[in-house]
């Protein structure tokens, strides 16, 4: 759960610029990461109908069938933090902005989002927007929805998204000392202002995330019923009351009231829930499923030959690592830095990506992701992510001179999510390079692992991963490595790093802000609070009857653009 997907199988990755991809689109496959970024999808056939099946095929009003998972929470935007529900919300709601395939934000409902100091924002929304039930989308629809999400008594899982807004402290106290956030003010029907407690220059970028979607007034009268049959303002709407058939599927039809930039080009969208990726893959190859945006382990080796140019394998905004807690014995101070670097040098990322993931993951070069604006492969200090057995041994020997190491180096992971193979490969790489004991430490459930991590009772390293909520560098760094941050599970603290983050947040110029965040990563490469491993690629494929399939920056197909042939 969470956008971080504990159950994610180690399956999603691509061979960027590798010799793979489609045979027919040979040229495209030779393009590097940056070009892919611009192209957005190696599998997309935007301007040419893919030759074999669809030339001349009449477009169909049949809904596109898409792979999905049963949502873990009611379909309320501020209460959905995992991908199964997230992809439905994104289809039935429209926010102030939406993200293009390359992660670039485009105004959806927003007319303008203005600020001079990165701290006080004036948001104007387009006039005459409607929810699918006909009620108008106004400034109040946003302000009420955000206040609802933040108020502690509503127990919304995404409440922390509103933390930067003035007045969040009051509504999140227990018991709350206010019912609404004082930082949100409705100016008129189409205008509201947002005051933040400190400058956050990427705040506008966050507004495409589902937590910031508006809600119709009817939602608040019976939120439970709303969660089962949500009424949104997005490109799709529920086909009927009860369209969400639990554990089976949800049927969406085109919402004619939506007038934004994501107008659906197909007859509808049916998201089918699968318990096993293997089954979904079988359905895709046998023509019973149109799009699949994840792959079972068993198909990694063959999917590109199975699917030809209908295979998708491109970088995405998922970063995988393991965190070595700051308090772990022998991993503190100078000795700790040496050992952390030794371990990082000891991991043969490239070979693991190839053998375990069949090239569907890309070895990490930084702490963020290659699809995010401001990503750099050349941050000084990132050579520590290369495999260098000699250097690893030398650094470990230096650390041994300070204090000899005994015991077993462990990487904790939840064994219900298909992580065992890569943990085994990684610990074997460490074991065989450094000549120390290194093992995976399986936890039966994700809950057990998280409890041990959040209670700080874990006695070794543990796997961590981050799927960005919105396409910004800051989202990969501040929540995880800033002192005292909510997801700083390793208790990393570095005042210099905090200072750079703060500067970047206050910097309204995007380039300058990104430069500062790259500098901040230089510090991370010295301290290695977490050992970066690889980026998960967006992998999957699509069926013969659909075209114009592109996968977005968040690895989910852009459903509204898909066209289906009869």
């Amino acid at each position: 759960m969470s956008s971080f997907q504990p159950d994610e199988k180690p399956t999603r990755i691509g061979r960027v610029g590798g010799p793979v991809l489609s045979r027919r689109d040979g040229l495209r496959s030779a393009l590097g990461a940056a070009a892919l970024l611009a192209l957005a999808a190696c599998g997309g056939n935007d301007d040419e109908p893919s030759g074999d099946e669809s030339t001349g095929g009449a477009s169909s009003t049949e809904p596109v069938t898409a792979w999905g998972g049963e949502p873990q929470n009611p379909l309320v935007p501020t209460n959905t933090n995992e991908t199964g529900g997230g992809k439905i919300l994104d289809a039935i709601f429209a926010g102030l902005v939406f993200y293009q395939a390359d992660g670039k934000p485009v105004n959806d409902l927003a007319e303008s989002i203005e600020t001079t100091d990165a701290q006080n924002y004036t948001i104007k929304i387009k006039a005459d927007q409607k929810f699918s039930d006909g009620s108008p989308v106004t400034a109040t629809s946003f302000v009420d929805a955000w206040n609802y999400g933040a108020l502690v008594t509503n127990a919304q899982l995404n409440s922390y998204f509103f933390e930067p807004i003035v007045g969040y402290a009051e509504v999140s106290a227990e018991p709350p000392t206010a019912q609404t956030m004082s930082g949100l003010k409705v100016v008129d029907d189409n205008t509201f202002t947002v005051a933040l407690t400190q400058p956050e220059s990427d705040f506008p970028l966050r507004l495409g995330y589902s937590s910031f979607y508006p809600l119709p007034a009817s939602a608040f009268t019976d939120i439970k019923a709303f969660g089962e049959n949500p009424v949104g303002n997005g490109p799709y709407k529920l086909a009927e009351t009860g369209a969400w058939k639990h554990n089976e599927r949800i049927d969406l039809v085109v919402n004619d009231a939506y007038a934004g930039g994501r107008k659906a080009k197909n007859g509808g969208l049916s998201i089918v829930f699968y318990a096993s990726l293997d089954t979904a893959y079988s359905d895709l190859t046998s023509g019973n499923l149109d799009t699949l945006d994840a792959l079972p382990d068993s198909a990694l080796a063959t999917f590109e030959s199975d699917l030809g140019d209908r295979a998708v394998n491109q970088p995405s905004a998922v970063f995988q690592s393991f965190t070595i807690p700051q308090g772990l014995e022998h991993f503190q101070g100078d000795e700790g830095k040496l050992r952390r670097q030794a371990i990082s040098y000891a991991i043969d990322r490239a070979s693991i990506c190839k053998a375990v993931f069949q090239g569907t993951r890309t070895p990490a070069k930084d702490f963020t992701s290659p699809v995010i604006a401001g990503y750099s492969e050349t941050i000084p200090g990132n050579e520590v992510l290369s495999f260098d057995a000699a250097k690893a041994k030398a650094l470990w020997a230096q650390a041994e001179a300070i204090s000899p190491y005994s015991g077993t180096f462990t990487i904790g992971y939840n064994s219900d999510g298909g992580h065992q193979t890569w943990v085994d490969a990684t610990t074997a790489s460490i074991r065989q390079t450094l000549g120390i004991q290194a093992e995976g430490a399986p936890y039966a459930t994700f809950a057990q692992l998280r409890s041990d991590v959040t209670d700080r009772t874990i006695k070794g390293a543990f796997r961590t991963g981050w799927q960005a909520d919105y396409p910004g560098l800051y989202n990969f760094l501040a929540p995880i490595y800033a002192t005292g941050a909510g997801s700083n599970d390793g208790d990393y603290t570095n005042p210099e790093f905090d200072g750079l983050l703060k500067q970047a947040a206050a910097e309204t110029d995007a380039d300058a802000s990104q430069k500062l965040l790259q500098q901040a990563q230089e510090l991370l490469f010295k301290d290695l609070p977490a050992i970066p491993l690889w980026y998960s690629n967006a992998t999957g494929g699509f069926g013969e009857s659909v075209s114009d399939v592109k996968f977005g920056w968040n690895s989910v197909p852009i459903y509204d653009a898909i066209t289906k042939q009869a």
Binding site: P6, E70, E82, A275, T279
Partner: protein
């Protein structure tokens, strides 16, 4: 007989209480905080977490939680899942399809197992016996997730006879392959049990007598050999029902059947106490009824066994 059945039904009450208490205790003992896990790797808002804990009574001591559950049983309100659905609704969706799948599996393993076992037992050491041994070795040595994977690969992807994803409301024919997969391991048990029982009974005195009396071989076989060989087989099938229903996690996953096994597994992994206990309670009841039926069948199969 009537008294016996009445007594057995009465015994269900302590079993029900014992089983639910045991399961509740086990869920309580599950490690980790399910609420913290709901947040994934994202920041846990302490206020929200506390709200959720109260909502699911997770802040209550064990016995209070259990008593609240018992109260729920009698008011038919078994609580909600973490996704906000009433557990009753979840059960109403999961059980029908699983029951059908189980019926298919039981029929497959019983019919195939008994027929093959009978033939193998009649010609012990013959080629058919050896072949049946080989087949049972295969299903024993290859775990069910591999058998299921291969079955789906062959029948859904290559031959396209079935859909890989069976879904929640399948026809009986769609359930055939999943049923065979689910029943495969038990098929080996039924086969071997029948074979050995038949072989044993062939030399029994009442069979010799029957043959000596000049009864037709077919009648000897069905009435005197098979009927007397069936007690262990029927016992096994009875014990298998519960196992098939709860243990179908793998098969259900492979064929995307949203049934009891998968729901129960997910609920356990997520520490959703209410769901786990509610499901197991129903399983216990099914289990008790099936075992009672098996005991009554004993008396039919072997007149020497009597209940008072």
């Amino acid at each position: 007989m009537g008294i016996y059945i009445g007594r057995r039904l009465l015994q269900m009450i302590p079993v029900f209480i014992g089983a639910t208490l045991l399961i509740y205790a086990m869920v309580f003992l599950l490690p980790g905080d399910p609420i913290a896990a709901l947040f994934g790797d994202k920041p846990v808002s302490p206020g929200v977490a506390a709200q959720l804990r109260a909502q699911y009574h997770l802040d209550q001591p064990f016995l209070v939680q259990y008593l609240l559950f018992l109260k729920g049983v009698f008011t038919l309100d078994l609580g909600n899942t973490f996704s906000g659905q009433p557990v009753i609704d979840v059960m109403a969706r999961a059980f029908p399809v699983t029951i059908r799948l189980t019926v298919v599996a039981i029929i497959v393993e019983a019919v195939l197992g008994i027929v093959v076992g009978l033939l193998a037992g009649l010609r012990r050491g013959g080629w058919f016996d050896s072949l049946s041994l080989f087949v049972s070795l295969l299903v024993i040595a290859v775990p069910i997730f591999v058998i299921g994977f291969v079955a789906r690969y062959v029948f859904a992807e290559k031959l396209r006879w079935i859909k890989a994803s069976v879904g929640p409301d399948p026809t009986w024919s769609q359930l055939l392959i999943p049923g065979i997969v689910l029943g495969s391991v038990s098929f080996a048990y039924v086969l071997r049990l029948t074979r050995n029982s038949v072989a044993e009974n062939l030399t029994a005195d009442h069979v010799r007598t029957a043959t000596a009396k000049g009864l037709k071989p077919g009648r000897v076989l069905t009435v005197h050999v098979l009927r007397n060989s069936l007690i262990p087989v029927v016992t096994f099938l009875g014990t298998d029902v519960g196992g098939l229903m709860a243990g179908a996690v793998v098969t259900e996953g492979i064929f995307n059947i949203p049934g009891v096994g998968g729901t129960l597994y997910q609920a356990i992994i997520r520490t959703e106490g209410a769901t786990v206990v509610a499901f197991v309670t129903v399983l216990v009841i099914i289990y008790l009824v099936v075992n009672l039926l098996v005991d009554l069948l004993y008396a039919v199969l072997d007149p020497r066994i009597r209940y008072v």
